[in-house]
């Protein structure tokens, strides 16, 4: 994690909170007040002994000063500002806000998440009412029967001198229809009662899957070795994070894939090879598997062994079907991701995997290493094309040619001899200017 440009602001904030004068702090740390002033205005870099000394005097963890609030919290704030389309939000000062009021910031992000979940619930319910075939059928049945009863009964009441055979016939029809109506109403009530109880808290199945996989750290020791299909089923059955049937099915598919990958690339040997050389393409060669399998396997290793790993997969429509989050690379939850991600590029040329460094706009100058590859998951027929899926593995960028802060104006510039591509998260919260891939205006007015 590189030192942030905001260290000075946090020192100043902390100092004011503790009621210490600038000159006093400088004296106790053993630096000149003017030098401390430059530090506090983020105009001098600070590290090592001076930082430790200042942290000591201010009685805070040095990490709190050097790293500030978590990147995830800041990303959450930006997302909240983006989706609320709020006017006058100081998006450029999100980091400062998160650093100064971490509790409030977390509350805001939590509330935003909760609002999003509730919105999805409303959407799902609306959708259910409008498009639920069972409900539509039941209602149609009830309305048809009511129509017949109404028309028939008014004939009986309004027609003078109705012949007895007609009278009998219409009486019989009403009797028949009223019975149908009773049944229809009953099944409607039963259905609505049932609907209210099942999947009470409606998250998207993808959200549930992510919660389930995250709770297990994306690693399932029970599925390593020669686990049978019943092991995967038992894990899914016992998972509390999986509420809906749809999510359970997704989870079962994910675990079956895990089991197949684990059988092909046994854990012990993978770890041994990774220690020798962690390059995913080498792993693919050693085990004679394709790149997506090697990506998935690496993304299924415990963090203690493999370090930070992110993986994001999509289908041919660009919908994200799998996410293992990566702390320095944000992935949108429901909105469309940035079209510049190599993840989408490999769908156009499935035989050409890509490896490049990515710098996500609005997230400082950090870069990550992205490896993208596509696979065919179902062959083409004369009725439909082959079904494709793309995967992008995100790894920490180990090359050292990092740019100095504030020098990010030229995009796709070569750093340390290798190209860096500037990408976003999703358009609404992306500060990239004059981006040809933009599909909706950004609410982030200025670059960070």
């Amino acid at each position: 994690m590189p030192e942030s440009s905001m260290i000075g602001s946090r020192i100043r904030e902390r100092r004011v909170m503790n009621g210490i004068r600038q000159s006093e702090l400088a004296r106790r740390v053993g630096i000149s007040p003017s030098y401390l002033n430059l530090i506090e205005h983020n105009r001098r870099r600070i590290g090592g002994k001076t930082l430790l000394a200042i942290a000591d005097v201010l009685e805070v963890e040095p990490a709190l000063l050097s790293e500030g609030a978590e990147a995830a919290l800041i990303a959450g704030l930006r997302e909240a500002a983006g989706t609320q389309a709020a006017q006058g939000v100081e998006t450029a000062r999100a980091e400062e806000f998160a650093g100064r009021f971490p509790g409030w910031a977390r509350l805001l992000v939590d509330l935003h998440g909760r609002a999003g979940a509730l919105e999805r619930t409303v959407e799902t319910l609306t959708d259910r009412l409008a498009h639920d075939p069972h409900l539509a059928d039941s209602l149609h049945e009830v309305i048809s029967t009511v129509t017949a009863i109404r028309s028939t009964s008014s004939i009986l009441v309004e027609t003078e001198a109705l012949e007895p055979e007609w009278q009998n016939r219409f009486h019989r029809n009403i009797d028949e229809d009223s019975r149908r109506l009773a049944e229809g109403a009953e099944s409607l009530v039963r259905y609505l009662e049932g609907a209210a109880n099942t999947e009470a808290e409606i998250k998207s199945p993808q959200d549930e899957l992510l919660a389930f996989l995250s709770a297990h750290g994306f690693h399932f020791p029970a599925l390593e070795g020669d686990a049978g299909p019943q092991v995967a089923r038992r894990i899914v059955e016992q998972a509390e994070a999986l509420v809906s049937d749809a999510a359970r099915r997704l989870a079962l598919d994910a675990l079956e894939q895990y089991r197949a990958d684990a059988a092909r690339l046994p854990l012990e040997r993978v770890l041994e090879e990774m220690r020798r050389d962690p390059a995913p393409e080498r792993l693919a060669q050693v085990f004679d598997c394709d790149l997506p399998t090697s990506f998935r396997r690496i993304a299924a290793l415990p963090e203690s062994e493999a370090g930070l790993v992110g993986l994001v997969s999509c289908d041919a429509s660009g919908a994200l079907t799998f996410r293992r989050p990566f702390p320095r690379f944000a992935m949108p939850r429901d909105a469309g991701a940035c079209a510049l991600w190599p993840l989408f590029q490999v769908l156009g040329q499935p035989q050409v995997p890509l490896r490049m460094r990515l710098r996500q706009a609005g997230r400082g100058q950090e870069t990550v290493l992205a490896l993208a590859a596509a696979e065919q998951i179902s062959p083409a027929t004369f009725e439909r094309p082959a079904l494709m899926r793309a995967h992008m593995l995100i790894l920490p960028d180990s090359s050292d040619g990092r740019e100095s802060a504030g020098d990010g104006a030229d995009s796709a510039g070569a750093i340390g001899g290798r190209v860096v591509r500037d990408v976003g998260v999703s358009c609404r919260i992306c500060p990239l200017r004059e981006c040809a891939a933009r599909r909706e205006p950004s609410i982030v007015a200025d670059g960070f």
């Binding site: 149609h140 048809s144 129509t147 017949a148 028309s151 008014s154 016939r169 029809n173 028949e176």
Partner: protein, 122 residues
């Protein structure tokens, strides 16, 4: 000789009730109860008016209306549509497809008579 009406509806007891009230009003009523070949029935019967349900087995009332309007002999045929849903979307769809009038189920017999009479008189 009464005016001829063709009722395209799949609910037997609605067919019976509507046929009854229209017959008593002096109409010559013919009925047809599926969507597949409804257009053939319209051509064969050549009625003065078509009463068309939206939800039919085989083909929707909207599709049948399109077929009627696409046929040069039938393009001027007065069509009364019966829809179970009073939804704006259905009404818009009906109007775009060139319906003359529509009624929402459940309807009153008096309304049916009044609308049907006005459609053929005009």
């Amino acid at each position: 000789m009464g005016k001829r009406v063709l009722l395209i509806e799949d609910e037997p007891n609605i067919i019976e009730a509507v046929s009854f009230i229209l017959s008593r009003d002096g109409w010559d009523v013919k009925t047809h109860s599926n969507g597949h070949d409804a257009i053939d029935a319209v051509r064969a019967r050549a009625p003065d008016l078509v009463i068309l349900d939206v939800m039919l087995p085989g083909k929707s009332g909207f599709d049948i209306l399109h077929e009627i309007r696409a046929d040069s002999d039938l393009s001027g045929m007065p069509v009364l549509m019966l829809t179970a849903r009073g939804q704006v979307k259905d009404r818009e769809l009906a109007e775009q497809s060139g319906v003359n009038r529509y009624m929402t189920k459940p309807f009153s017999n008096a309304d049916v008579l009044e609308v049907v009479r006005s459609m053929v008189a005009s």
